[in-house]
Amino acid sequence: MNTARLLIELSNAFGPVGYEDRVHEVIKAEVGPYVDEIYRDEIGNLIAVKKGNSRRVGVFTHIDEVSLVISAIDERGFARFESLGGVDPKILISQKVRIECRDGKERKGVIGMLAPHLQKPGSRGDVPSFDELFIDASINQDFDRIDIGDLAVVDFTAFEMGEKVSGKALDDRACAAISMETAKLLSMYREHPTVYFIFTTREEVGAMGAKAAAEALKLDLGLAMDVTHHSKEDGIEIAKGPVITVGGPNIHKGYFKKLDDYARENGFPVQYDYGPGHTGTDADVVQLAGNGTPTLLLSLPQLFMHTPVEVIAVCDVLNSARLLSGFFSSLEEVEVV
C-alpha cells in the first residue's frame, strides 16, 4: 500500500479509546510481513517486534482516536453522549456520526442543536456545550437497539489533498504509519537494535497503554511519536520535516544529541520544539517506567488537531521513517550515552 493510501485506511478505521481492534487489523495486514512477531498485550496495545541485536528500543504511537460514547437515549431516538478524549463541541455540530452497536450493526446519527433564535436569551448564537448537544439517531428504524456505552465517531472519509491527507484520526495514526514505514525500512539494514513498535491504546485518556507496555518491555530507549500543532509563529510547519523535541525534563540529553547529530549529518529536514515540563504524550509515562527509561519525542506537524479534518503532509511521514530507521541502525549495540 502506498503511504497516502495507508494513511487513509488508518484514519478511516473505527478505533475509539479502548476499542482499537479494527485498527489492529489494518496494521497487522500491512506490517506483519516485515516484522518477526506481532501480538496484543493485556491492556490492548498492539506490539510488533523487529528483532535485531540485544539493544532494546521502543517506539510508541497511539492508535486510539478521540470519539464519543452514548450516555443516554430517549424513547424517540435522541441520544446524549460523552466524549472519549478532548473534543471541541464546535466541530461536532451538524456532523454525521457512525454508531457502532453491540449487536454488531452500525447505525447512523446526526449531531443536532438549536437554531440561534430558539436558544435561551443570553447565550443566543453561542456554541452549545455537551449538555445541550444530542445525536439524532431517530433516523434508524431500530434505534431502540442503541444502548448506553455504544461508541460513535464522526463519519468522515479521509482524502488526499495534493501532497497532504485530511482525515478524522491522523492524530496519532499518521505516526503509526511512520512506525510501519520504519519497520519496513529497517529490513534494509544489516545491523539494528531490537525494535518494539508499540501501537498504544488509551493515550487520549491518560497514556495508560504506553505506561503498561513500557513497564513490561524494559527498554534501553523509548521514543514516542505524536502529532504537534502547525504554528508558523513557533517555527513549526507542515511539510517541513519531523519535529524533534530538544530538551527539558522529559527528554534524554544524550540520545537527543545522537538523534540530532544523525539528522544534521545526513541532511534530513527537521524542525525543533521544546518541552518545558511534561510533553502531554506517551513520552511522559515511558520515562518513568521500570527504573527509568531514556526518552525521546519526535512529532509530526499537523493542522486542526482533534477535528475530523486533521491534515498532515505525506512527505513528513516518509522523512520521519527514513530518519528513524537510519538513526536506530546507527546506534551501537553497547554504548554509553
Binding site: G18, Y19, A72, I148, M208
Partner: protein, 335 residues
C-alpha cells in the same frame, strides 16, 4: 443481608482510618476464605481458591468520605477540612461523629442577613464550623483535637426496596463482597477479594493491591450516581432497580472491553438484569488496577445510588442482591 449492610454502613471509618471497618469485615469473612492478609497500606486481601489456575480480583473500597479538624477557636468551635469529595452544602446542618466519640453539628457564618446570603451562594470550608458542645478551647481540645477524623453521623434506614444510610459508598460493595464470599462454594478461578483503603482521596490502595497478584481480570464494585431523580443529569440514562450497571467509562478510566463483554455474558447466562453505565464524572479503583504493572484488564460493576456523598445515600435492595448474583456468576463461570 440487610443486617450485614446495617453493620457495615454504620461503622465510621474515613480514608486513612480504616481499622474499624477492616476488623469488622475480617471477622465476617475469616471462616469462609483460604487466605487472609493485610498489606502494608492496610488493604484487606482475602482469597478463595479455584481450579483453573487463573485469577480474578474483586474489589470494594472500605473507606468513606470524611472531615478532619484543622483549627479550634477560643470558644471551642472547630474548623474542618475535607477528606475526599465532601460538599459543604451537604455538611450544613448535619451531624459529625469524630473518631474520639465526640459529636458535632455543622453550621455557617454571617454577621448580617446579606452576608449570610452571600456566603450561602458560594459556600466553602472557610465559612463553616463545627459545634461539639464545648465551651472553651481547652475542652474542645480534649474532645476532638486538631487532626481528629470524622464522618457523617447517620443511621441505616430500611425503606423496604430502598435502603438509606451514610457511606453506602462503598460499604454496600463491601457487604456485597462479604455476601459473595459466604455464598461462593466452587469458584472457577482463584478469587481475590480486596477491601481497599483510601479510594476517596485518590485511589491509593487499589494502585498497589494487585502488584503481587497480577490477576487475569480485576472488577471494582462501587456506587454510581443514579440519574433518575427529577430534572437530574440528562446525559446519563441508567436507573435504580433495573440491576447493577456495567461501567463503560468514567473520568478515571475506560473499562477494558473484555471485562465489559464477559460481565454481560455471565449476566445473560444467569438471566441477571444489568444496565450499561457512562458516568460523566468520577472514577473508581478500576483505574488503579488497569495501570498496575504491565496492565490488568479491569472494569467496574456499580450499584446505582442516589445522593452520593451525602449523609443519606439511597440504593435499591434488588440491585444489591443482583450484584451479588453477578459477582458469583463471574467467579463460578470464570474470567
Amino acid at each position: 443481608m440487610k443486617e450485614l449492610i446495617k453493620k457495615l454502613v454504620e461503622i465510621s471509618s474515613p480514608s486513612g482510618r480504616e481499622d474499624a471497618i477492616r476488623e469488622a469485615i475480617a471477622e465476617e469473612v475469616r471462616d469462609y476464605v483460604d487466605e487472609l492478609r493485610v498489606d502494608a497500606l492496610g488493604n484487606l486481601i482475602c482469597m478463595k481458591r479455584g481450579k483453573s489456575g487463573k485469577k480474578l480480583l474483586l474489589d470494594a473500597h472500605m473507606d468513606e468520605i470524611g472531615v478532619v479538624v484543622t483549627h479550634i477557636d477560643e470558644k471551642g468551635f472547630l474548623r474542618i477540612d475535607m477528606l475526599g469529595g465532601v460538599s459543604p452544602y451537604m455538611l450544613l446542618g448535619s451531624r459529625i461523629i469524630f473518631e474520639s466519640g465526640a459529636c458535632g453539628i455543622v453550621s455557617t457564618e454571617g454577621e448580617s442577613a446579606r452576608e449570610a446570603g452571600e456566603i450561602m451562594k458560594n459556600l466553602d470550608f472557610d465559612h463553616i464550623f463545627v459545634d461539639i458542645g464545648a465551651s472553651s478551647k481547652e475542652e474542645a481540645e480534649k474532645l476532638a483535637p486538631i487532626g481528629t477524623f470524622g464522618t457523617y453521623d447517620s443511621k441505616f434506614r430500611d425503606l423496604g426496596e430502598k435502603l438509606v444510610s451514610k457511606s453506602m459508598d462503598d460499604r454496600i460493595a463491601c457487604a456485597i463482597l462479604v455476601q459473595t464470599i459466604k455464598e461462593l462454594k466452587e469458584p472457577a478461578d482463584d478469587v481475590y477479594f480486596v477491601f481497599a483503603v483510601q479510594e476517596e482521596v485518590g485511589i491509593v490502595g487499589a494502585s498497589v493491591a494487585a502488584f503481587d497478584i497480577m490477576p487475569d481480570m480485576a472488577v471494582a464494585v462501587d456506587v454510581t450516581a443514579g440519574p433518575d431523580t427529577p430534572k437530574s443529569f440528562k446525559r446519563m440514562g441508567f436507573k435504580l432497580g433495573a440491576g447493577p450497571t456495567i461501567k463503560i467509562k468514567d473520568r478515571g478510566s475506560v473499562s477494558s472491553s473484555r471485562v465489559v463483554s464477559r460481565l454481560k455474558e455471565v449476566a445473560d447466562i444467569r438471566s441477571i438484569p444489568v444496565q450499561y453505565e457512562v458516568l460523566i464524572f468520577g472514577g473508581t479503583d478500576a483505574r488503579g488496577y488497569q495501570i498496575t504493572g504491565k496492565g490488568i484488564a479491569a472494569g467496574t460493576v456499580s450499584v446505582p445510588t442516589r445522593y452520593v456523598h451525602s449523609p443519606n445515600e439511597v440504593v435499591d435492595y434488588n440491585d444489591v442482591l443482583n450484584t451479588v448474583r453477578l459477582l458469583k456468576a463471574l467467579a463460578e463461570e470464570g474470567v
